[in-house]
Amino acid sequence: MSPATHGAHPSPEEVDALLDRSPDTDVYDVDLEERVGVHVADCEECRRLLEGMRAVRGLLRAEGARVPELPAGLDDRLAAALARASAEREGTIVPIANGREARERTGDRVPRWLTAAAGLAVLAGAAVASSQLFDVEGSDSVTGTQAGAGQAESADDALAGLTRASGTDYRPDQLATQVDALLAGTAAAELDATAGGDVTAETRSGAAPTEAPLADSDLRDSPLADPAGLAACLAELDAAGQVPLAVDVATWEGQPAAVIVLPDPSGGDTLQVWVVGPRCGLDGDQLLHFQAVRR
């Protein structure tokens, strides 16, 4: 601060320093304070400034004494936000962005052309299976679908009919086995459909699947049953354009969820398993679990 003189006006900081002046304080330069005080006493403009500062501080203190109430609903909103943060900390909910990070840390980057090609090859069978499951027209539709599977004209076409409702209650300690069964069920349907037969519960390995008979009603309300909804979900998972190996609207530890299985981007035998909320982030982030599973 520049020393004040009778001729030069003090700075606002110097004038402000007079607000709480006391001869006992050791905060300010007492000598400087006396010079500023002498100037202010003789200068109408500076005296008015000091009065204004003092009065403003009084107004602000008075205003500050009134504590504004929280608006209606903010209390609940804050509690919900903290509850989400708490669930994240406990590992039960992971923001989808964190899931992407986890995937990238494991090196699971997805060359889309490779994944799409792999997905379409599987989808050929899945589309056949779907037509068997949801359309009772018989082998003609199977043949026709087979012929057209390799020529899916749009991303939505590739995702149509992919989603199932197996009734499985997925759990962390059983996930690998359950995913095997999910895929085996799909694969079994491929084989059966190719042979022109009905869908059966047999699997390639002979292991009994955990799937209950499909219930169309379970899918009716799921946005993932709609190709556009599933595409939006995949985009949320940073997997836009990819075609899952399986999508199962089921439960995760007893809670409604959806399991999405994506192929290994490098073509290996590791699968990416995403467990998401039943609406898959369409109403906000909700990634329940992410795991790389070896076939």
Binding site: A17, A62, E63, P71, L78
Partner: protein, 210 residues
């Protein structure tokens, strides 16, 4: 362990105990901390940003950030100081990123002109509206020091600046506010007007014409 409500721990020590409990994994400790201080934190956010929507968004962001970053709290300052710092940073971040609703700024000159008061043209004073027109660094300093009676040293910790910087911002902010209010017909020479409880604006100064 979360402090027992029946214990006599109060104030800063209670807050520190709740923070320790939260970092140790207590699922309810942080919510209790928020319950104890959210009113004051809300007031800071509202007065810094000037509108309910932005303040609510900033406060939510701040509390979630504080929840996640609690392990970084070293205990050097009071928990409330740390929480205030998180809230203020969230508010200023919104302003600087352009997320906050625009306010009408004061003219570029930082200091009031040293001229005679203008003739009275308005009867009502709104210190809150005038405060919203200050540059955010001056506004936040006045919100903390004058409105929330925070010691300059603590405000310096909240803002992450030197105490002299806080004093300078307060001084210039008070001067600028005085000029804005004087332009609205306010006469600082009269007794400072205090808003009646339940009203939004302070009572008009005595002697003003309508």
């Amino acid at each position: 362990m979360r402090p027992d409500p029946d214990d006599e721990i109060e104030g800063p020590e209670r807050d520190r105990a709740l923070m320790r409990a939260h970092v140790a994994g207590d699922p309810d400790a942080f919510a209790e901390l928020v319950r104890l201080h959210q009113g004051r934190l809300w007031a800071v956010a509202l007065r810094t940003l000037g509108n309910t929507e932005d303040a609510a968004d900033a406060l939510q962001d701040a509390l979630v950030s504080a929840f996640r970053a609690a392990a970084t709290y070293r205990g050097d300052a009071a928990v409330t100081t740390w929480l205030h710092r998180v809230v203020v940073n969230a508010c200023l971040d919104r302003v600087r990123r352009g997320k906050a609703r625009p306010t009408v700024p004061l003219p570029e000159t930082d200091l009031p002109t040293r001229k005679d008061d203008h003739a009275v043209t308005e009867t009502r004073l709104d210190v809150t509206a005038a405060l919203a027109r200050l540059p955010e660094h001056q506004r936040v300093a006045l919100v903390l020091v004058d409105m929330h009676d925070m010691p300059v040293a603590e405000a310096a910790q909240v803002l992450g600046v030197a105490e002299g910087t806080v004093k300078s911002r307060c001084a210039r902010g008070r001067a600028a506010l005085a000029a804005v209010l004087a332009a609205q017909g306010w006469n600082p020479g009269t007794r400072p007007d205090v808003a009646e409880p339940g009203t939004t604006n302070p009572a008009p100064p005595t002697g003003d014409t309508t």
